[in-house]
Symmetry: C2
Subunit: 345 residues, 2 copies
């Protein structure tokens, strides 16, 4: 048995007593090849014995595809925020890809990197398709990729771009959260968004908030609407502003768990009890949400499912099947911070 050198199809062919053609046909389960059971058995046995794996580069070269998909991870102002979802997203994505024999390349892009690097991923034969997370509408690379007919799936929506995407249903999620507060009897319900209004997700979650209030016949006061900026510090500041509003709101929908963490902190500092004096609902359902003080009622964002859906979408695109954008459904996780759940995580 060879120790260092990897086995080639030639070695397998020799050991099995057949040609390299036959080895390839058997190992790839070629559909139209009529090969005897006995021959197949011998080839598989030889491959196993030699620990033979077809060389990826050789196969890529001849097949004209890499069976690899790249996740393009733009570093930007919201990267810490998205980082929380990266593990789930990556593992869901990998799961979809591996099921079809595809590999996953992870490619973070620093702000100062030239546009070329994304193009190179596709044109240099590093990946057959790109999953792009944190896309920007104005990004010229996106247009260039479309022009070169590179298969692309976006993680997060970009209005005005006809590219397939996966995302959660932000509007429905926010609406669900606020409806829950309304059902608990709250009328003065404020919002702290997850991000500044330039961000699509922030606008959509704000829209869900407005929709829920409108259905209840409530017009939110302008002071009820505060903008978060991805992190805990922004939530603390926004909550401090909210505490000044007269009459004080009795509930807040915070459209991000991280921002909500800062908001809870501000309430604790101010001696305002949650949920008695102020009910709080978050968005994301990070693992920590079950252990905030008190535990946070929140809207679950299924990171793994998003990754899996993105992978499926890409595989469909790569196989020429219709690739339709996915807006994944959300779910409200009721804990103690809204006043209707239990205090036990």
């Amino acid at each position: 048995m060879p120790r260092k050198r990897r086995a080639s199809s030639f070695d397998v062919a020799r050991l099995a007593g057949v040609s390299r053609t036959t080895v390839s046909l058997v190992l790839n389960n070629a559909p139209h090849a009529h090969i005897s059971e006995e021959t197949r058995r011998r080839v598989w046995e030889a491959a196993r014995k030699l620990q033979y794996f077809p060389h990826a580069a050789a196969r890529s070269l001849v097949e004209g595809r890499t069976r690899t998909v790249a996740l393009v991870w733009h570093r930007g102002p919201d990267v810490n925020y998205r980082d929380v979802f990266l593990p789930g997203l990556l593992q869901g994505l990998a799961s979809a890809l591996h099921a079809q024999g595809y590999s996953l390349l992870f490619r973070p892009i620093e702000p100062q990197e030239p546009d070329d690097v994304v193009l190179e991923l596709a044109l240099g034969g590093y990946a057959d398709g790109l999953i792009i997370s944190g896309p920007k509408a104005e990004d010229p690379v996106l247009a260039e990729l479309v022009r070169r007919e590179v298969p692309v799936v976006l993680h997060g929506q970009v209005p005005g771009l006809a590219l397939p995407y996966v995302d959660v249903d932000n509007v429905a999620g926010a609406k669900r959260a606020v409806s829950h507060l309304l059902r608990l009897g709250h009328r003065r319900i404020a919002i702290i968004t997850n991000a500044r209004p330039e961000y699509v997700s922030a606008r959509q979650r704000l829209e869900g908030y407005r929709l829920a209030l409108r259905e209840a016949g409530i017009t939110p006061l302008p002071q009820w609407i505060q903008y978060g900026d991805f992190d805990e510090a922004s939530g603390r500041k926004a909550m401090q502003a909210l505490l000044e509003v007269q009459p004080r709101p009795t509930a807040v929908f915070v459209a991000s768990d991280l921002v909500a963490l800062g908001a809870l902190y501000a309430l604790w500092e101010a001696g305002v009890r949650v949920p008695q004096d102020m009910a709080v609902v978050g968005f994301d359902d990070l693992p920590l949400a079950a252990y905030t003080i008190p535990p946070l009622t929140t809207v679950r964002v299924p990171a793994w499912d998003l990754g899996f859906a993105a992978g499926q979408l890409m595989l469909h695109r790569l196989q020429g099947r219709p690739a339709v954008s996915q807006r994944l459904p959300i779910e409200l996780v009721v804990r103690a911070s809204c006043g209707s759940g239990s205090n036990t995580p």
Copy 2:
């Protein structure tokens, strides 16, 4: 300008009026090639104009290496725990690799997957080397990889294996945390480990705890030592046990922020004030540590640095340079939960 078809070195050669050899020599900055400035300029110009990127598979095939490193991410009982560090680790790793033109393949391994898949990564030419996270000492794949001389770097130590690794200095970190509590005047200091004693990191952090106490002339009571199990629930349970101990400890070192989150929760439930009635120090410095109630004093684990160091180690190994294991230094981040920091995050 071609739209769909990617340019090949042939296209570049024709446009620049030279041979494909010259194109390759120029674009790769071949050291011994004496080529006129004018020719170089023409080649670069043609490559730029055609958006030419050498085909990765073709290059891999001829060079006999992929310029790709795979991160092997074993899913196991501690995966949620390690997931918290994945974004930092990945991005640090990618940063080290990209600086040298290497790509990063992400490969999660599910528990039921056969051992072959890790071997295939190397023998099938998917990667030149493997970074293995969450390695197990008994893993037969590890031995096989060594036997086949596959370059491997471990994330986390495995005693008895002569493979290069990167890790934090768990002993020093724990010792530092406990020394801080001693300096604040605490004598009855308990510990909740990050994991069960089978885990190397749990044993090392416990050792740091013992070392610090010994230096202060204190012998810990057996009841002071509780084992966490990666998650918040285990921290809550361990803290509840600790609250029964008489006389009650005045401080706890919780060797994981996630576990500490559960411990803080148990203290809140029991009406025990932090830090007045019980000082708490964590380990990891997750982003949320600054916003627990009260903010958590903790030992920082530099995830990005660990990834970067792992990448560097691998590159050294791949270039035949000495690859020496790295134990990264730690740092104590003082906040409010220990009683000596400020309450402002």
